[in-house]
């Protein structure tokens, strides 16, 4: 299955791309994701793990380069094409989609905002990698600050004071930056990553969001990784802690220095990742729906396929409706966001719209997974059918990359403050900086 009427007018090239990625997701990604899901965390990161075989193939297919601007070595895809790749990978496996998503964060940001030197040293080898030699991850979440990190720039100053100190501190020392601290166990791909796009708080910062973003090679002195954690879902992308003990990086590895633009960067990066998460969520929801539809057409109860039962019909329609609305909203948000962040590079995408894409699609994924599992009845609870895994993955999505609650609160602030504005307003950042720095 997995053919559906696409309301966007796809070109022949779009159709071919979609089919190619879908075939890869069906034949390679999904079988490996099921295998990984049933493995122990430690085994999942061993060199002979299926994880690395699939990751290598994704690199070979160039999926890591899809969000790079063309002039920086990107594949010159349209926002719709990038979206389609992510939806299909999300359909195949939330874990692998997340893995190739976070892989891009340190390197794409280095390509867009970093120096020529950093581009040559770190980004070019990553672009040329077709063996899975390099693997990025995104170090945000901390033991004392989970999703809080995402709302820090829109929080009331008095409340922000209560956030306390960051758990990863960065300090300039001559021509180097020194990093110490810990990121929590929920850093996707951390146990298998070679580089981290790291958010760190500046030493003696006046407020929590006074930070920097840097590229940290994870094989340098002072970096340690925690054990991969045993999670409910998303087990096909290992997650674990990162520890930094006086880790020194050259000045040019700090991509975004402390100050106003760190706020803009953090906001805009979340716009980009929100579109990616939205596409993964639609893919996952579609996978659940298609499993349920297929099952309902074949499973006979009361002498007829259950798809003929009115309660099941209603469920299937509602699932379809949710996925369709999520898909085209996420696509529209992706188009707007990618134009501003990747193509024009004006860094003025709309946070409220990008967040809505992520939040809405995540909620849809969970609701659809929930209903799909219900259609399977007790079979849905067994490992005999993939719906059990998809349901666990969909539940994780409500937390991964920011809980839907925090993302919603953050988006709400943008809606309340800026609804009528047809441009990206940065008053929340300037106000905060004025408040703390005068």
């Amino acid at each position: 299955m997995s053919k559906f009427l696409d309301l966007d007018e796809l070109t022949e090239e779009d159709k071919m791309l979609k089919e190619e990625v879908h075939r890869f997701a069906t034949e390679v990604v999904r079988p490996a994701s099921i295998e990984l899901d049933r493995m122990d965390p430690e085994d999942r990161i061993k060199p002979d793990s299926p994880y690395f075989k699939v990751f290598k193939q994704m690199k070979k297919l160039g999926y890591h380069k899809i969000n790079l601007p063309e002039e920086k070595g990107g594949l010159a895809l349209t926002p719709l094409q990038r979206y389609m790749i992510f939806e299909e990978l999300g359909w195949g496996s939330l874990g692998f989609a997340t893995a190739i998503g976070v892989d891009q964060i340190p390197f794409v940001t280095a390509a867009v905002f970093g120096s020529e030197k950093l581009y040559e040293e770190a980004v070019i080898p990553w672009i040329e990698d077709d063996k899975g030699k390099y693997h990025g991850c995104w170090g945000v979440t901390e033991p004392e600050h989970g999703s809080d990190y995402l709302i820090a720039f829109r929080e009331e100053p008095d409340l922000l004071r209560k956030f306390g100190k960051g758990n990863v501190i960065i300090e300039k020392d001559g021509d180097e930056w020194v990093i110490s601290g810990q990121k929590s166990a929920w850093v996707s791909s951390a146990p298998v990553a070679t580089h981290c796009g790291l958010h760190a708080q500046v030493k003696d910062a006046k407020f929590f969001a006074d930070g920097a973003f840097c590229l940290v090679p994870l094989d340098i002195d002072g970096v340690k990784k925690g054990k991969p954690v045993d999670m409910l879902g998303m087990r096909d992308d290992p997650q674990g802690e990162l520890f930094f003990d006086n880790v020194r990086i050259p000045d040019h590895y700090t991509i975004v220095a402390p100050g106003f633009f760190y706020g803009v960067f953090a906001d805009q990066l979340l716009c980009l990742t929100s579109c990616g998460m939205g596409a993964f969520a639609v893919g996952l929801a579609r996978a659940c729906f298609e499993e349920a539809l297929n099952y309902a057409r074949q499973r006979v109860q009361g002498g007829v396929p259950i798809a003929k039962h009115k309660n099941i019909k209603l469920k299937l329609y509602e699932m379809f409706e949710k996925i369709e609305t999520a898909r085209y909203y996420v696509r529209k948000a992706t188009e707007y966001t990618h134009r501003r962040v990747i193509e024009l590079q004006t860094a003025d995408a709309s946070p409220r719209h990008a967040r809505a894409a992520q939040i809405y699609a995540k909620k849809v994924a969970f609701e659809v997974a929930h209903e799909a599992l219900q259609i399977f009845g007790a079979y849905g609870l067994s490992k005999e059918f993939i719906i059990e895994k998809l349901f666990r993955d969909a539940r994780c999505m409500l937390i991964e990359d920011g809980t839907v609650e925090v993302l919603s609160l953050e988006a709400a602030d943008d809606v309340i403050s800026n609804y009528e504005k047809d441009y990206y307003d940065v008053e929340h950042i300037t106000n905060l900086m004025d408040y703390f720095e005068g």
Partner: protein, 207 residues
């Protein structure tokens, strides 16, 4: 045609480039505001000043400031730079033997010069209005301090920008250049800012 940076020719080329670009006119149609670029003296500047062409360009830029406004150099760190180079505010720059001065600079200890002229800068004022660069000029110390935006950074970093080796956004984001001003306005007009810096870095620079 390649021009020397910094020089009056470079400023003239920039003026022509921006004002003849249709796309800039379009994306900056609503832009209202000027920039003061504060190019701070550093070791690379002193190294480049050993090249008579670059030194001549720099001196001609200073010479473009009318004598009465040049008085504003007095008592500032910029006067310190002139003194360190063996010049003064009252020197008739057009009579300076550039080759000889360049040779003299090559014999100087850059650390001593930088210490004597700590904080010295070459200030450039660019006045943009509705898709047009109305004026580009060298500013004397204290002039145009109220510009809508102030871009501050070492000579070596500005050189990277001018030569197209790094773009303005990257340099500002990484903290190499400091930008002061109405950041909300800046973010609403990023397309204009991007286009301007793209035009600036497209001017071929004589090496």
């Amino acid at each position: 045609m390649a021009v020397v940076y910094p020089s009056k020719e470079w400023m003239e080329e920039l003026y022509k480039k921006v004002n003849s670009d249709e796309e800039y006119k379009k994306v900056a149609a609503n832009w209202e505001g000027d920039y003061l670029c504060v190019v701070e003296l550093d070791e690379e500047a002193l190294k480049d000043f050993q090249n008579p062409k670059v030194l001549k360009g720099f001196l001609e830029m200073l010479d473009s400031i009318p004598k009465e406004r040049r008085e504003k150099f007095k008592g500032t760190v910029n006067e310190g730079l002139l003194v360190a180079l063996g010049l003064s505010v009252d020197t008739d720059i057009s009579t300076v033997d550039v080759d000889e001065l360049a040779k003299k600079i090559s014999e100087m200890d850059p650390k001593v010069v930088l210490e004597a002229a700590k904080g010295a800068s070459l200030n450039m004022w660019l006045d943009f209005w509705h898709g047009e660069l109305r004026n580009v000029a060298v500013a004397a110390p204290g002039e145009h301090e109220d510009a809508k935006f102030k871009l501050i950074g070492p000579y070596s970093v500005f050189k990277q920008l001018v030569m197209g080796k790094a773009d303005a956004i990257t340099l500002v984001v990484s903290g190499k250049l400091k930008l002061q001003g109405d950041m909300g306005y800046m973010m609403r007009n990023m397309a204009a800012v991007r286009k301007f810096t793209e035009l600036m870095s497209s001017i071929p620079i004589e090496s």
